[in-house]
């Protein structure tokens, strides 16, 4: 028996890849859903109306103060109660990620919107555009551009965070590896493989984020 037997990885590759696909799906849902909800919450955080501002602020501060793993557990038990029937681990994990990541995205969005000079808002309003149109055509497109590095960084974090969904038994990438390990007892090989795959994806993403930032810095 070799010290590092990569055959175990090749033998179980289809199963592991299914796990990786689940990880990607969950990350994608977390990123897109979290971003959509985050834009709404982030804008609500900038509202001058207290009944919009306070709930949004509470939402953000509450979720940013508790660990993600708790939120995953919580939704796993909460979603079936609200829905009236069990929805499965993937759906409840999706909801947990959307809600949790929205609180982080919301803060990025809020900061991004606040980074746009006040004059832009005034200029757009002065031409007769209403508040919604101003946000949609003037403020948000510019803010998003400034936010892209932070959004990409947060997306990398989400990609890594999806591994926490193993606690509710979701067969994402890490969980798949541990399932194989339980049968084959090849912890070193399997977890090293998992680590390398995570590293490649996250490092590549970070690399492009840095390049983007450098390019943007030069354009100024």
């Amino acid at each position: 028996m070799a010290i590092f037997d990569y055959k175990v990885i090749l033998d179980n590759l289809p199963f592991l890849m299914r796990g990786l696909i689940t990880t990607f799906q969950l990350a994608l849902i977390g990123i897109s859903g979290g971003l959509a909800l985050g834009i709404l919450v982030g804008m609500a955080r900038l509202s001058s109306r207290p009944y919009i501002y306070y709930p949004a602020t509470l939402f953000v501060n509450f979720l940013r103060s508790i660990p993600l793993i708790l939120v995953i557990f919580w939704f796993y038990f909460l979603v079936p109660i609200i829905a009236g029937r069990p929805l499965g681990d993937f759906l409840s994990a999706s909801v947990a990620f959307i809600v949790f990541e929205a609180s982080y995205f919301a803060e990025i969005i809020r900061a991004g919107i606040q980074s746009i000079p006040k004059g832009q808002m005034q200029a757009a309003l002065s031409t007769g555009l209403d508040y919604k149109q101003t946000m949609r055509y003037i403020i948000i497109p510019q803010a998003l551009r400034n936010m892209i590095p932070s959004l990409l960084t947060q997306s990398v974090i989400i990609f890594q965070d999806t591994s926490l969904a193993y606690v509710i038994g979701l067969k994402e990438f890490l969980r798949s590896a541990s399932v194989v390990d339980a049968r084959e007892v090849r912890s070193l090989e399997l977890y090293t493989f998992v680590g390398i795959v995570y590293f490649i994806f996250c490092f590549t993403m970070s690399y492009f984020t840095k390049k983007w930032e450098a390019k943007k810095g030069m354009a100024r």
């Binding site: 000079p117 004059g119 832009q120 005034q122 200029a123 757009a124 309003l125 002065s126 031409t127 007769g128 555009l129 209403d130 149109q133 055509y137 003037i138 497109p141 510019q142 551009r145």
Partner: protein, 241 residues
Amino acid sequence: MIEIRNVSKWYGNFKVLDNINEVIQRNQVVVICGPSGSGKSTLCKCLNGLEDFQQGDIIIDGVSLKDPNTNLYKLRQKIGMVFQKFELYPHMTALENITLAPIKVKKMSRQEAEKKAMTLLERVGIPDQAHKYPGNLSGGQQQRVAIARALAMEPEIMLFDEPTSALDPEMIKEVLDVMIDLAKSGMTMVVVTHEMGFAKEVADEIIFMDQGRIVERATDKTFFSNPKTERAREFLNKILI
């Protein structure tokens, strides 16, 4: 056309506008000058509701800004504004900057809006810059695009908030020329500026403000040679070296 009635405004305890009264007729050009912090820009931004005020009222063409039923968005369609720092949308070309409001607010077709925008760009002398982004235009060109953007909504009133203060000296003239042209075409204009040459040429009335108050108003050229108040004399000495 514009009636300012007893308008006062505070930032916290600081009174920026102190009981301002003024009537501006249609086709009039009113120049507001005064030292920085005198409240002239604030007053200008109150006229289209970009800044709120606590006391008094402003009536534009019979519509009260303080009336809760007044639709400010609608009112702003007939009041164009030009800003000190241009405030063009950096993610849009000059042409897109000009066509956005006509397309989105007036529901004009893109084709029609672009045709109109080109006419306006010709009027301000830079039709060849239509497809450039603001970042690739000089300050003077940017400000002329900004004027075209405001004109695209066919406003009845144009507000200028220190339109040449952020420009290099050699670019001031090209912007002033456009403004003089506009004034002579009969546009109702409120212009916050220190360009006394402009004031001399087209202003029907000059308002001198200091510490939130209108200190002096003049309807003839005597303001420049012989101001009535000591404060205005001091100010003119400083800017006219």
